[in-house]
Every structure is written in C-alpha cells, then in structure tokens.
Subunit: 236 residues, 2 copies
C-alpha cells in the first residue's frame, strides 16, 4: 500500500464548477446567433475553431471568447451584427466574473485533509493563469493548500517537473480530478495514485479513447466527500 | 557586498522584444480603423479599455486582442465592419505567432552566466502563461535556466513567494529587467539587488511616478551584455 503524503486536486470541475459555466455561456451565445445557424451546428463549428486555435491560444476562458467571436463572424459570412459581437464580449466577461461555486463535498474534504495533518495539499490546474489564480483566491480554500500549480498542459512531463520541483516521491502522491486524460492517465504513468471523480459534463477536447485506459487501474469516487475515507483505506 | 548566487531575468523587453511587437500590432490596427478615428486618439481609448479590463482579463496578448475588439466596436458606435474585426483577430494571431527575437547581448549574457557555474538562473515574467511558456521555449535559452516563473503580478508578495518556494535568500538574489515598477521597486523592497535595463518603449501601464523611486538605489546597464561584468564587480 502506498504511503500517501501529498494529495493534489484538479481545479475546474473537481473543486469548482467550470464546464457548466462554459456551456451556459455557449448556450447563451448559440441562442443569440440562432437566426444564423442551428445551435448544435454552431457548437460543432466552435469546437473546430477552438481546436484549431489551441496551438496559439492555449486553454481557458479568454481563448474561448476569442474563438467564439471568430466563429460568429465565420459562420455568418460576416453578417453577424456588432451588437451581437459586443454581447459575446459581455457574456465572456460575465463568465470570467462568475462566482466560484464549489462542488459538493469539496469544502469538507479539503478541510478534513488539511486538519488531518498527515497530508500536504496541492492544486494542479490547467488554463489561464490569471483566471485560475482568481478562482483559487475566490474559492475560500487558498490557505489550506501547500502549493498551487497552474500549468499549460497536464502530461507526464508536467507531473514529473512538479514532483522534482517540490521533492515529491510519486509513490507518495495522489491526484484527484475529473479528467481521465489530464488527472488519471499521466499520473498513473509516473507511478503515482489517481482518484477519478467524474463530472456530468466533459469538454469534448478531454474525451479519451477507451482503449487507451484498457490496461490501467485507478480509484473512482462519486464526489470529493468520499476521498478522505478512500485515503484512510489506502493507508491500511 | 552581496554574495549573489541567483540571477533572475524578466522576459518581455528584457530577454526578447515584446513592446515593439505589441506596438507594431497596435499601429496596424489603428491604421485599419483610421477612417473611424485618429490613430493617437484610438490608442488612448484602447489603453482606457485595457486598464478597465485588467481586473477581469489580466495582462497578455489575448487580453490585448479582446480589448482591441471591444474598443473598435465602441469607438465606431458599432459601425466597424466584421471584415475589420476579423482582421484584428488575424493580426492578433500573428502577434502570438511572432518569432521570439532576443535583445542585443542576451544570448551571450545568459550563456556566460550559465557557464560560469556560480549562478542559478531564473526567468520571472508576467502575463499569459501559455504565451510566455511558448516564448521561453522558442527563445532557445530554456535549458540554461534553473527555473521559469510565470506570474500574474510582479510585486513584493510574488517575489517573497518565489524566494520561499525555491529557498533563495534575498541578499543573494538579483533581478534583471526593464521595468522599474515590476523588476526594480519590489525587488529592492525585499532586500535584493536590482539591475535595470531600459527598453526604448514602455507600456503606459508600467510608467512610475519618479517620486516613488526618489530614495531607492539600483544598478543600471545599457544592455544585458554589461551584466556579467557588473556581477563580477559586485562580488569584489
């Protein structure tokens, strides 16, 4: 059994709601542009633009807003009104300013583990530095974390770099998160423990081919409320 | 004399050109919109929008592009064409994709200090995580740095956090950068050494009131080429 000393949490859709905010925003915008294009089709076009722009923009809310504006101009052949484009900007700002809503069980889980005294807690999250730091600060949990790592991509190289930077032994490290692609697969690949907490919505970009995880083993919990007991069990 | 062991460099306009790329981009866009508003006036309005958006967007190229689109819609009362808005997006992408051009003396300075063996070298830079990491990677210097810190704001709290995270004694630390506001004042306030390398262009947001530095002392060099000799001198 691993002697877990260091527990890291993903931010978006693990500690706080994110994909619901994005998809609510996307819905408002696709409704706004419904005269030009059917919402489902527009969402598909948006995803294509976002994917094409990933190389230059990276992840995050500002990238999403920029891709939304580009898509709106493109799919309407330039006939979208500037009022609508202004509204996309405004809806984007509301998204950035959206209150940080913790998921069920998060506050209790993080406080329990922090009080326990046996664990060092981290946040390891991907996306826009400014927006993510703002979310950590507004979560009300910031002071319970030992380190906050905001990274461009959560892959094997990134996890290895974090292990080295903070002197963490992978066998003592567990990652808790909602994404198989970012929080489970690379974590298992460095020999650490992964705890998957599914979130009802998954951004299309985060979907994984089931065959890639066919040989892997990880822990699955329904919410963060179940994590302290899981960790206790793993210590036995 | 301080025993300097750890030398950090700012990124934008210290290691590589940045403000010239931004201002070239801004010039292309203000020219594009010259039918609607005089370029100098438009630049003023853009700065006002950027400053108002700082709380939500933070620094960086994507924030700049979003503020530019908002300004273009606003100053034309919505009469800007979607072709022009599309062009703003395109110009913004070119900016993000712009080759990383090192300033004079940078490569030699960083290599000399890395080869010297007595120094640990860092990059401490502000702005968009994704874009800054991409610039570090494309600079060709990445492997010479011990650590790269991309931060939201370069203030006393940030520098203190970096000192603690990496076990750096401020008396052994020197920061080299082009901004009095970000690279000199807070660095002196934590008791470290600051080396200012002026860059011809200063983003309006970085201007400081001369009275705030009236009592301070720092080192000034014309380019990074002068830094190794300065450090040698400081060791004596």
């Amino acid at each position: 059994m691993p002697n877990l000393t260091t527990i890291a949490f993903d931010g978006d859709d693990t500690l706080w709601h994110n994909e619901t905010v994005f998809s609510m925003t996307e819905e408002r915008i696709t409704t706004l542009l419904a005269d030009h294009m059917e919402p489902a089709e527009l969402s598909k076009r948006l995803l294509a633009t976002e994917t094409a722009n990933l190389r230059l923009y990276g992840y995050g809310a500002k990238s999403f807003i920029l891709s939304m504006i580009e898509t709106a101009i493109e799919v309407t052949d330039g006939r979208v009104s500037t009022e609508h484009l202004k509204e996309i900007l405004d809806v984007g700002k509301e998204m950035l300013d959206h209150p940080v809503e913790l998921l069920e069980g998060v506050e209790e889980c993080v406080k329990t583990l922090a009080d326990d005294g046996r664990y060092r807690l981290l946040v390891i999250t991907k996306g826009d530095l400014f927006h993510q730091e703002s979310k950590v600060a507004r979560s009300g949990l910031a002071e319970l974390f030992w380190k906050v790592e905001i990274v461009v991509e959560k892959d094997v190289a990134t996890y290895r770099r974090i292990m080295t930077a903070h002197g963490i032994d992978p066998t003592e490290f567990a990652m808790v998160g909602n994404s198989l692609r970012s929080d489970v697969i690379p974590v298992l690949q460095i020999g650490a423990t992964a705890v998957h907490v599914p979130y009802p919505l998954v951004w299309a970009h985060e979907h994984v081919d089931p065959t890639t995880v066919a040989e892997l083993r990880w822990h699955e919990v329904g919410s963060l409320a179940a994590v302290p007991a899981l960790l206790d069990e793993l210590r036995r």
